[in-house]
């Protein structure tokens, strides 16, 4: 993310004044492409997956994810895919076709260098990482919740991540396939996107956005989940309309699969289809509005504690509304024809992505920092960084709406000085640096607090969910005793006093025979099986190394290399899956142990 941010600052330095020559057009193309790729693919989803990977077992009262070694695989493949994409940068061969990489700009005839091949292969590799991670989340939700945590009691972050994961499983193949076809078009002589031979360039756009739009929801829904879980803690009341928010999360994703064409309004499709997709895009406002009203009602009827984390979450709600309204505007076909490919769209997508992703993530860091490190972050400094970032953000991105309406197109590397765009561009650039300053302060705060922050204790915020019942930082096994859950807010039951049932976090199943956790049924979370967990292993690392080597060989056009590395991948997989007596069933059934 930091690298992506520096790229953005370079772009803004270039655009601050008319007719600048800080960057060449080629460098500029690579920069804006890699900025998009980095922020969207290498930051926005992985940061949320990181949150979820750490928090899920804690939130669900489990000892680990369902597939700890797949987790490692997902991480390593992600890291290598990122390195793969970035290794091309110093060589001047980085992807340069924009992050959505339309053909025919990206076809061999118009873009002969290896730049696009790097992007195509890197994205397929990254897709593997995403898929593996998503499978892990889905199986974890279905299998390893604490007994009693039925599906209507899981935290909203879990709803967000699992919805995003299911969406990824459906959507990622589209983009992997599109990039595979593009690579074949470029290197194997196929004609999928080649209009001369009967192919369709628009097929690229369809496949890309069938993936692209659900992906947008995949990178915002977990972030919205963070807010839905953490905001109520600072409002000292449960979230208003838990069921409505959970259902709106899921329905946003479902609808998200039916709106991809709204990225393509200007591509000459039939009016009937434009009307349909425009209507579907309007409909998506409804579940989003449900969530917004739920948050506002939570703040309104609660007793807010104005911590820095609260500020970040509240700021998010405001930015979400602005981003939503500009999205609503571009969902209207006639307006979109005016505004597409201008800075209005840039403004919209940054309000959406920074507003809905970065602000909740920073709030989430403030909120869970004490759980992870055992220390609180500095409140005053965090508030400073919030106000600097919030104002810097709006100074930087709000004028982009106006520039877009004035007709400034996106992706131009400079402009002439009598178009009337100069002042706004200067303001934007200053705002961007202001925003970066706020972020820098935040990072300083993280590093300082890691060493010198005040000790947090088990539950510094007085929060309700299970992760706050174990020590800070939690032990490697999270919970010595698997908790038993009786309500949606296990740690607030005495305060809320809604019934006689109480969750039990000190008493429950002990499972003291090594690495084990409990496997529960998918809906009601009744214990069904005791799962034995594998230990630490180098195999995921080896497997991802072999996988990456396949893609490097493909980039170097070496069929032998692909064959050999595929063989290595196979060997690593078999080694990984080799049956281990220790993980298998034991011949005798284990008896339950109660612990006090």
């Amino acid at each position: 993310m930091l690298i992506g941010g520096v790229e953005a600052l370079l772009i803004r330095a270039q655009l601050a004044r008319p007719n600048q020559t800080l960057l060449t057009p080629e460098q500029y193309s690579q920069l804006f492409t890699m900025h998009g790729v980095t922020m969207i693919f290498l930051y926005a989803l992985p940061v949320l997956s990181g949150f979820s990977n750490y928090l899920w077992p804690l939130l669900l009262g489990s000892r680990d994810m369902a597939f700890p070694r797949l987790n490692a695989l997902s991480y390593w493949v992600f890291l290598f895919a990122g390195l793969f994409l970035y290794c091309s940068f110093p060589l001047g061969k980085a992807p340069d076709g924009g992050w959505f990489n339309y053909v025919p700009y990206a076809s061999l005839a118009y873009n002969p260098g290896p730049n696009i091949d790097v992007y195509a292969l890197g994205m397929v590799l990254l897709g593997i990482s995403t898929t593996v991670g998503s499978i892990n989340f889905i199986v974890t939700l279905a299998r390893t919740r604490a007994p009693g945590m039925s599906i209507n009691r899981v935290p909203v972050l879990v709803w967000g991540t699992v919805t995003a994961s299911a969406g990824n499983l459906l959507a990622v193949p589209a983009v992997s396939l599109a990039f595979l076809m593009l690579f074949m078009d470029r290197q194997a002589g196929t004609h999928f996107f080649d209009s001369v031979a009967g192919g369709q360039p628009l097929l690229w756009q369809h496949l890309f956005w069938m993936f692209g739009h659900p992906w947008v929801y995949a990178i915002v829904l977990p972030a919205m989940g963070i807010v839905s879980d953490a905001l109520p803690v600072f409002c000292r009341r449960p979230l208003v309309g838990y069921t409505a928010v959970a259902l709106s999360t899921v329905s946003t994703m479902v609808l998200g699969f039916g709106v991809w064409v709204h990225h393509m309004f200007a591509s000459g499709l039939p009016v009937l289809s434009l009307s349909f997709f425009s209507a579907a895009s309007f409909v998506i406002v409804i579940p989003s509005a449900v969530a917004v009203f739920a948050w506002i009602a939570t703040i309104w009827t609660g007793r807010p504690v104005f911590t820095a984390a609260f500020l970040f979450f509240a700021g998010f709600v405001l930015l979400f509304v602005i981003g939503g309204v500009s999205g609503f505007m571009t969902a209207a076909v006639p307006l979109d024809w005016q505004l597409t490919r201008t800075y209005f769209v840039i403004a919209h997508l940054h309000y959406v992505l920074i507003g809905i992703n970065v602000f909740p993530v920073l709030g989430g860091i403030l909120y869970w920092f004490p759980k992870v490190t055992g220390r609180l972050m500095n409140e005053a400094l965090a508030k400073w960084s919030f106000w600097i970032m919030f104002s810097g953000f709006n100074v930087a991105f709000f004028p982009m709406h106006i520039l877009g309406i004035l007709g400034m197109p996106r992706r131009i590397y400079t402009y002439s000085d009598h178009l009337g765009w100069s002042t706004a561009n200067l303001v934007i650039s200053i705002g961007a640096y202001f925003f970066a300053l706020g972020l820098l302060l935040f990072l300083v705060n993280v590093f300082r607090s890691y060493r010198h922050g005040a000790l947090a204790g088990v539950n510094p915020w007085g929060a309700a969910s299970l992760e706050w019942s174990t020590s800070s930082p939690p032990p490697p096994y999270n919970f010595a005793v698997i908790p038993i859950v009786a309500s949606r807010y296990p740690l607030w039951e005495d305060m809320m006093d809604e019934g006689p049932e109480r969750s039990s976090v000190g008493t429950g199943m002990l499972l003291d025979q090594g690495r084990e956790t409990i496997g529960t049924t998918a809906l009601d979370a009744e214990p069904a099986v005791i799962l034995r967990m594998p230990g630490d292993s180098y195999l995921p690392f080896l497997l991802s190394l072999a996988l990456t080597a396949i893609f490097v060989s493909a980039l170097l056009h070496s069929p032998w290399g692909v064959g050999i590395t595929a063989l290595c991948t196979f060997i690593a997989s078999v080694w990984w899956l080799w049956p281990q007596k220790a993980l298998g069933q034991m011949p005798t059934l284990k008896t339950q142990e109660q612990h006090d």
Binding site: G148, L170, P173, S176, L203, L207, K590
Partner: protein
């Protein structure tokens, strides 16, 4: 009361049949692979509908190899099913026979596909139809190869005595993948070989 959720009988331990996490993981993998094929078919129909010339350019593909191939894949699936039923009832020998049969049938299918590829009048780079034809059948063949590798490994493990009536999660997981590969072939067969004959 809260304690009622804790069972008073003993729970099974470890990867037991459909309770294994791996079983769920495989279902999720099949889900996403199914989506991959759905996008392939979408691309096929999209390009077919936008084609201005005859589709397919050299007439519908011949069924002479494809129909026996379909039957062979179905038989291979039956063999795997029979073998897996055997191991769940504690007969590793039946599992071995089933796997050997399925692997042989799968290899025959691959060989027949190879013959068909070789006999086509067009190459991968001839046009948009040939690109689709080779890509769709090729991706399916990769799945067949992966399935065959899985079954070969399962065969080895069964022969080494790793599986028994109580411990066969890996066998069930491999079997469901193989059935998925067969199922996808039925759709590939319908889309590539049968649909062009309808019009």
């Amino acid at each position: 009361m809260i304690e009622s959720i804790v069972p008073n009988h003993a729970l099974p331990v470890g990867s037991k049949g459909h309770l294994a996490s791996g079983w769920w993981g495989m279902l999720a993998l099949i889900f996403t692979e199914g989506a991959l094929f759905a996008y392939l078919f979408f691309s096929y129909f999209y390009l077919a509908l936008h084609s201005i010339s005859q589709w397919p350019p050299s007439g519908p593909p011949h069924l002479g190899i494809a129909i026996p191939g379909t039957v062979i894949l179905l038989l291979a699936s039956v063999a795997v099913w029979w073998g897996e039923r055997g191991i769940t009832r504690g007969h590793p020998r039946r599992m071995i026979v089933g796997l050997v049969l399925a692997i042989l049938l799968g290899l025959v299918f691959l060989g027949m596909q190879g013959v068909e590829w070789h006999g086509e009048p067009f190459k991968l780079n001839s046009g948009v139809y040939s690109s689709l034809y080779f890509t769709i059948t090729g991706i399916h063949m990769i799945h067949v190869i992966v399935g065959l590798l899985m079954m070969a490994v399962l065969l080895l493990w069964t022969a080494l005595g790793y599986f028994s009536g109580g411990r066969h999660a890996a066998a069930s997981i491999g079997a469901i993948y193989w059935h998925f590969v067969t199922f996808i072939w039925l759709i590939v067969f319908s889309v590539i070989y049968l649909v062009p004959r309808l019009g």
